[in-house]
Amino acid sequence: MGAEEIAKLIEAVDETATEAVSGALAAGEDPVRLLKEGVVEGLRLIGVKFEEEEYFLAELMMGAKLAERCIELIDPHMPPNSVTTRGVIVIGAVEGDLHDLGYSLVAKQLELAGFEVHQMGVNVAPMSFIDKAQEVGAGIIGLSAFLVTTVPSCRDVVDYIRDMGLSDTLKVIIGGTATSQERADEIGAQGWAANAVEAVSLCERLTEVEQAATQNL
């Protein structure tokens, strides 16, 4: 069974995907192709169904678990230095917000998409996000706000970054039920994502822009 079939099994959240991966590896299939065109593509297809509201959180989370198990099988077969991080992200729920469901789900999807993710937990002070981002060399801070009353905390993070002169290297994205693109624009954040799947696309876009800018220097 090849990468395309594995992608379809993952899209269907079919548990036999792990057996298919083991079989493909035993048959000598290229592990890099299995990872990218099988597992990662399968996750992308789940994301499409989620965005079309055909799938719900249950499928998204079970799909992520299934993909994780497949990646664990593929990992030992990957050629040395073939795993590259797409970017470093610090993520958590802003000060005043105790909801950990949303951001932890986003964190998992970002990890599966190849980002190095540092989870900060809930009720995180603005400077703690920035300190952590500087410590780990993150290019993006992801802020989760489920309560409208905590949106001002998102603004604080954006303002501190600007005041510290870090805006060129550190982007802020927001998400959670209290947020919107309009609200992201209002507070000066660089992006908004409606859900975990959109968050991955957004981080990919921001990272690509950053890399292109670096190459042009």
Binding site: E53, Y55, F56, L57, A58, E59, M61, M62, A64, K65, E95, G96, D97, L98, H99, D100, L101, K108, N123, L147, V148, T149, T150, V151, P152, S153, A178, R183
Partner: protein, 291 residues
Amino acid sequence: MNLIEKLLEKGRPVVLDGAWGTELQAKGIPTGINPDTWNLSEPDLVCEVARSYVDAGSQIILTNTFRANRIAFLNQPEAEQIEAINKAGVEISKRAAGDRAHVFASIGPSGKFLVTKQVTKEGLLQNFAEQAQAQASAGADGIVIETMGDIEEAKLAVQAAKATGLPVVACMVYDSGKKKDRTMMGISPTQAAEALTEAGADVIGANCGNGIEGYIPICESLSKATHLPIWIKANAGIPDLVGGKVIYRTTPEEFVDHIPALLEAGASFVGGCCGTSPDFIRAVCTKLRGN
């Protein structure tokens, strides 16, 4: 005759309370703390919220215990006060209710997912059992499981609550899907009503996540799928932030315009969730009973 039957004996809808979180915020609860801790630190302010609903005409009020479970308080010092917070929550509402209203204790979700193995079924059951037992021992008249997105978690909460011997209301939150008629995990009202009826709930309900008009078709589906009475607590629309202030667009007058349709759809217990206030409950009472 149990309490639920007694409440519905006259064939008239029972009026519930409105939101607690937004009312507590109006009383100055700081962001970043679990509001349930106010049961111990600011009981009089919590009691003011409870009393405002009794005064407005609520026949059943809830308790400020939505997130007072050990999993929600994980790694926080308050975890050791779970029993005290729940007991105090019931006692405060009973003090406010006197003999004018019944007190149903609130149990919300754990905030963790079974599907990703963040928690186990046994862990959840133990978690809810601790909360429900504390509420029952403080004299709650019933237990309301609310804002559940995962049917498996809701069923475990029903199991834990039923073990107290109190009547149990089981509510899911419908805020997902193209028609906003599924829970975040994709459960339909029909699936939820069937599963929660089988789990032993005494009343099937829905709360939060949707404005009142959105709950009319959901109520209809719930009603068709179970012989049990239906409980609906809708939001005052979807919140917006204007000039740093939280605004809920639906007014009490607009809210109660939908009450007849909600009753027609099968609701026997009606109240409000996020953004509703004692004014909404007063308006509901006026609509149902005249002045």
